[in-house]
């Protein structure tokens, strides 16, 4: 409960104590309180524990957003032109044709047939990924199939 604020003692001179009284008040005997070092240490140890505690680093994923956005933009710039690029005759655009492109030349041509023939001759390759005609074996018939395909594709305009 506060006392009324309106009082007649607003003159600060009346609120000053004579120096003699102030000195006497300060000299008033007060029993010295001995604070044991263990009390100090307990407080300071708590302070170190509280203040030096590793704080959770506020690293939000959004912190990396600019970099993610930049990377996405670069990737899009690299990919988008491919969608608008007119297909070149014989170019390997889909996975169905990709398995025929043995030398990764981005075209199915007679060189792929040569590549498979060379593999068959050198190592007798039996990797079923080269079984382009799907008959379960890798042999000269696959070479012929690639060659036929290359010729067929080249009929589309590639010279």
């Amino acid at each position: 409960m506060h006392e009324p604020d309106n009082n007649p003692h607003d003159q600060d001179e009346a609120l000053e104590a004579p120096p003699k009284l102030v000195a006497a008040l300060k000299r008033l005997p007060q029993e010295p309180v001995f604070v044991p070092p263990t009390a100090d240490e307990a407080v300071l140890r708590a302070a170190r524990g509280h203040l030096e505690r590793p704080r959770p680093v506020r690293v939000g994923w959004f912190r990396f957003m600019p970099w993610v956005a930049a990377a996405a933009a670069i990737a899009l710039l690299a990919v988008i032109p491919r969608f608008f690029k007119p297909p070149t005759p014989g170019s390997v655009r889909d996975s169905a044709l990709a398995r025929w492109d043995l030398n990764s030349g981005r075209h199915v041509d007679i060189l792929d047939a040569f590549a498979l023939a060379r593999q068959l001759k050198q190592s007798g390759a039996r990797n079923l990924q080269w079984d382009v005609n799907g008959d379960g074996v890798v042999d000269e018939r696959d070479v012929a199939a690639i060659a036929a395909r290359a010729v067929k594709l080249e009929q589309g305009g590639r010279s």
């Binding site: 104590a17 008033l28 005997p29 007060q30 029993e31 100090d40 302070a47 203040l51």
Partner: protein, 191 residues
Amino acid sequence: MDARVTANHNSEVSRSDVELVAAINRGDAAAFEVLYFRHRDWVTGLAYRFTGDSDAACDVLQETFLYFLRKFPGFRLTANLKTFLYPAVRNLSIAARRKAARYQATPAELEQLEQAPAPPAVGAEAGDLQIVLAALPDEQREVLLLRFVDGLSLAEIAAAMDIPLGTVKSRLHNALQTLRQDERTKAFFDR
């Protein structure tokens, strides 16, 4: 290395309370240590004034600074730190006295615990002043001591005690008036 540590310590000691509080907010435990030792004796003396018991005063000292510590990070010092510490010391002192007397006091006596104890008895020389002080109402005595012993301004006392400035002035005026009129202390006012 030692010279650098000493230099750092000296620079800490010369910093203001506001600067130390800012450092503590950044996790600087050394700054807290400087602030602790700067105010420890004042807090202990104040706690003793309220409790009249050395052990209780030490307990209050620890609890006060642990309470203060929990304000970090995020504590903002906008006034004299004593105005923040004072109500904590007072409330913790009252709690300490209640706790000590819980099993041996009647409800009426517990009521009395809310009031600060009179200063301890002293020898004949300072005895008159002490006796007159003891006879003052608690709230007047506390304002008088905060003003002239602890050196707080009137506004700081108002903030610390959470009372209007006018009330502080009124209490201080009445306390001084009592001392001025009492035969045992009026000599202090002779020019």
